[in-house]
């Protein structure tokens, strides 16, 4: 089986190399069969990598411990669910998954464009081919999952208990898919730059790919945050850990890209921004992988360390250099066909959005790499804590929320005074009223939370008004009943209304975060059984401590009873400290969640003979709303990205279509 895997990797490498070399030749000569052969090689690489991935899956399921990777990440007692999940528990498997998914996406792109975008496709194929070859080289020569051990151990080391969570099936997969997905807009941006066809056709072609990449990346981050919160026991969901930042960087750039392209489609502007952001999102994905894989920074993902850091960093750097060179070369063709007519216009708001996202990216990037730079340049070890990120990200985020509310209310080109009054009166009043009422209720305390909530109310008012106007327009002008209008609104222009839903989700999430950051409380105390501590009005009593021994773990289980300020019983909470066979010590968080807040109990340094433990209790307000907001964001993204009507036959002559509109001359696809 390892032979088949190795052979498949070799074939994938050859096929990938063929895609790049022959594809390049085809792109230069324009010979149809050469280009088709390169595209065929892309499919061949996908096939070979599928066989390689299948081989690894079979080896894992067979628990063939003569294979180093299998011995390292599985054991006899590991369930099938986590045995398959161990595929991407380590470096080699993760990279194979990456290369495999990328090749599948490449093959899908080739198939999708077999009769379309023929001018762009040679370069798209070459670009995706280069990335496939790069990752296949990493898998084959630097982290090969098919390496065998001289002597097969009797049992494997088992999967890190922290990874034994259903999140292992969602968080890494979604993130990889998101990272890999940004290769498609990157490849098309490169192709558009090389061929000089810089209209909005490439943007329309990759729109859905980019949206899915974004949705998956968002979902991956959401699950990562949730996983950290319920599993790691530090009472938080985001710590500005370098690896968390690694996922945030492509997300920020990708989000800017998704907004920025709207302006090019509508007004033929921000073209330089769009190619730069497409290239940047890809480079950030690779850079994020570098941060995670290089071991250059310490983090909860430290298990993913390896020596291939310089290669990944070099590759990210190379994509930026080539991208920049292409953009500079094509600057004359990237001139906007319109211009920002006024500062009070939607174009200007979009431009500001771009600037804000880029500002956030720079903050996160600098905060993440500063310790590395400092270490390298001055030899001084420094660490950049959450306070740095919070201090800089909070104001940028607040301006961004204000913009989320204001942007949809602004007209394109220029907004007249009358227009502004008509659009802004209601949402601004709602926001201002919220601010005043909450300030009075809180007697001026918690200004930041109040400000975020007021801005949130402003955004929600905008979103509601937006929806209402859309409905009213359909109802009045098309004579549709209200329910029919609602259905059609989503069915025919999902993009237009996916956006506001995402914005509503962002507001719910940020309000949750503001609450949580502003009102979080924590208490730590050494308690023996029978003692209690109080946090935010809730009394937590250490009621009992028991042992539990299973074949895989030895656990100490503490039972805690929570009572509110009036003495009402809120039920029991079970926290656990477990030691897995041959693995590290793991704490299982005890939690009691309500819509308003979570009570979060962690038990450390347990002394079973003295029946004493260090107990850490967090009062975590509004966490439920953070998850809810994130779920709304993902659902809105799916709504926008879903292929509602893709059938070619039903498209022509259909009564209504979901198609992007261009105010300027549309570029006709040939």
């Amino acid at each position: 089986m390892t032979l088949l895997g190795d052979f498949a990797l070799l074939l994938a490498l050859i096929a990938g190399g063929w895609t790049v070399v022959i594809g390049f030749a085809g792109a230069r000569t324009g010979r149809e069969e050469t280009i088709r052969s390169a595209e065929g090689a892309m499919k061949a690489a996908a096939l070979a990598l599928t066989v390689a991935a299948g081989s690894l899956a079979v080896l894992l399921l067979q628990k063939d411990f003569s294979v180093e990777y299998v011995a390292q990440y599985t054991s006899r007692s590991l369930s099938v669910f986590y045995t398959v999940g161990a595929f991407w528990a380590g470096q080699a498997g993760s990279l194979l998954l990456w290369a495999w998914v990328l090749s599948l996406i490449g093959a899908a792109v080739v198939f999708q464009n077999r009769a379309r975008n023929r001018d762009l496709m040679p370069w798209v194929t070459v670009t995706i081919g280069v990335v496939i070859v790069f990752f296949t080289i990493l898998v084959t020569f630097y982290a090969n999952p098919f390496d065998t051990l001289p002597v097969a151990p009797a049992d494997g080391q088992g999967l890190n208990p922290l990874l034994q969570n259903y999140g292992q099936w969602v968080h890494p997969i979604a993130l990889y898919l998101g990272f890999v997905g940004f290769t498609v807009p990157f490849a098309f941006a490169v192709a558009a730059l090389v061929t000089g066809r810089l209209g909005d056709r490439w943007i329309r072609t990759v729109r859905r790919w980019t949206l899915w990449a974004w949705v998956l990346l968002t979902a991956g981050i959401l699950f990562g945050a949730r996983w950290a919160y319920v599993e790691l026991g530090w009472g938080g969901y985001w710590a500005w850990d370098p690896v968390e930042n690694a996922s945030l960087l492509p997300w920020l750039v990708g989000t800017a890209y998704l907004h920025s392209v709207v302006v090019q489609e509508k007004r033929g502007m921000l073209k330089v921004w769009n190619v730069a952001l497409a290239i940047g999102a890809f480079a950030m994905s690779i850079f994020g992988t570098f941060l995670t894989r290089s071991g250059i920074v310490s983090s909860v993902h430290a298990f993913a360390e390896s020596s291939m850091g310089p290669l990944l960093l070099g590759f990210a750097f190379l994509s930026v250099v080539i991208g920049t060179a292409l953009i500079v070369w094509r600057l004359p063709l990237l001139r906007p066909s319109g211009r920002v007519g006024s500062l009070v216009s939607r174009e200007a708001a979009f431009l500001l959005t771009n600037l804000l996202f880029v500002g956030m990216t720079i903050v996160v990037l600098w905060g993440t790499i500063y310790p590395i730079v400092s270490q390298a340049v001055r030899g001084v070890e420094v660490s950049v804590g959450p306070s740095f990120f919070q201090a800089l990200m909070a104001p940028l985020t607040i301006v961004l929320i204000a913009l989320v509310g204001a942007c949809p209310l602004l007209a394109w080109r220029r907004a007249s005074g009358k227009h502004l009054k008509r659009n802004f009166t209601v949402p601004l009043s709602v926001g201002a009223t919220t601010f005043v009422v909450l300030t009075v209720l809180n007697r001026g305390a918690h200004t930041l939370v109040v400000l975020v909530l007021a801005l949130g109310a402003f955004v929600l008012a905008t979103v509601t008004m937006e929806m209402y106007r859309g409905l009213a327009a359909r109802h009045l002008h098309h004579g549709e009943s209200w329910p029919r209008a609602l259905l059609n609104l989503f069915a025919f222009t999902p993009r237009r209304y996916g956006g506001p839903i995402i914005h509503a989700g962002v507001v719910v999430m940020l309000a949750g975060i503001a609450f949580n950051v502003g009102l979080k409380e924590e208490r730590e105390a050494q308690l023996s059984v029978g003692e209690s501590l109080e946090v935010a009005g809730t009394t937590v009593t250490f009621e009992d401590l028991v042992f539990e021994q299973t074949p895989v773990k030895f656990a100490l289980i503490g039972t805690f009873r929570a009572t509110d300020a009036d003495g009402n019983d809120l039920g029991t909470i079970r926290a656990e400290q477990a030691e897995f066979e041959g693995q590290q010590r793991v704490t299982e968080v005890g939690m009691r969640s309500t819509l308003a807040s979570d009570l979060y109990v962690v038990m450390n340094n347990v002394d079973p003979t003295e029946r004493i433990a260090t107990v850490l209790v967090f009062h975590e307000p509004a966490v439920f709303w953070i998850w809810t907001g994130m779920v709304i964001i993902v659902l809105g993204g799916i709504l926008a990205a879903w292929p509602w009507r893709t059938d070619r036959a039903s498209r022509v002559g259909a009564e209504e279509l979901e198609l992007p509109s261009a105010f300027e001359e549309p570029e006709v696809a040939r």
Binding site: K43, A44, G341, L657, S661
Partner: protein
């Protein structure tokens, strides 16, 4: 072992087939016929028109801007329709009720008139480039539009 060898060999064959096939038997994916292309183009233009209407109805576009863009879009639709008739005069157009709807024709004539008026007002007297009503200078040739405003 034999199974692995057979699987490897089949994989090799499949990869070789995918790579070599375009040279041996060229793949022919028919590019869209010109007529079909035109129909798609027109569909897209119509959809854009509806988007535009929606933008205007939901207050995202000023009246003046809307009129200008709508007229331009209608012109393009007409041009495409014309091209469709040229390509296939007998087959297309039948059953396309929108093309023969008198109200629609009326509306288009009005829109066309409007756009012609607009074009007259919004063109640079120096070079013919389109300009905005409150532009002081021409974007392309730099002619002072404020002083030539009376003459244009």
């Amino acid at each position: 072992m034999i199974a692995v060898a057979i699987a490897s060999f089949m994989l090799l064959l499949a990869v070789a087939y995918l790579i070599a096939r375009p040279f041996v038997a060229p793949l022919r994916y028919s590019q869209e016929a010109p007529l079909e292309q035109l129909l798609t183009d027109r569909e897209r233009l119509r959809a854009q028109l509806r988007e535009l209407d929606m933008d205007f109805e939901t207050g995202k576009l000023a009246q003046q801007e809307y009129d200008k863009l709508r007229a331009r879009r209608l012109q393009q639709i007409e041009a495409t329709t014309h091209a469709i008739h040229e390509t296939e005069p007998d087959e297309v157009g039948v059953g396309q009720t929108e093309d023969v709807d008198p109200e629609e024709i009326e509306r288009r004539i009005a829109a066309r008139k409007h756009v012609l008026e607009e074009l007259e007002v919004l063109t640079c007297p120096g070079c013919g480039n389109s300009t905005d009503p409150d532009d002081k200078f021409c974007r392309r040739c730099g002619v002072d539009l404020a002083t030539t405003a009376e003459t244009r």
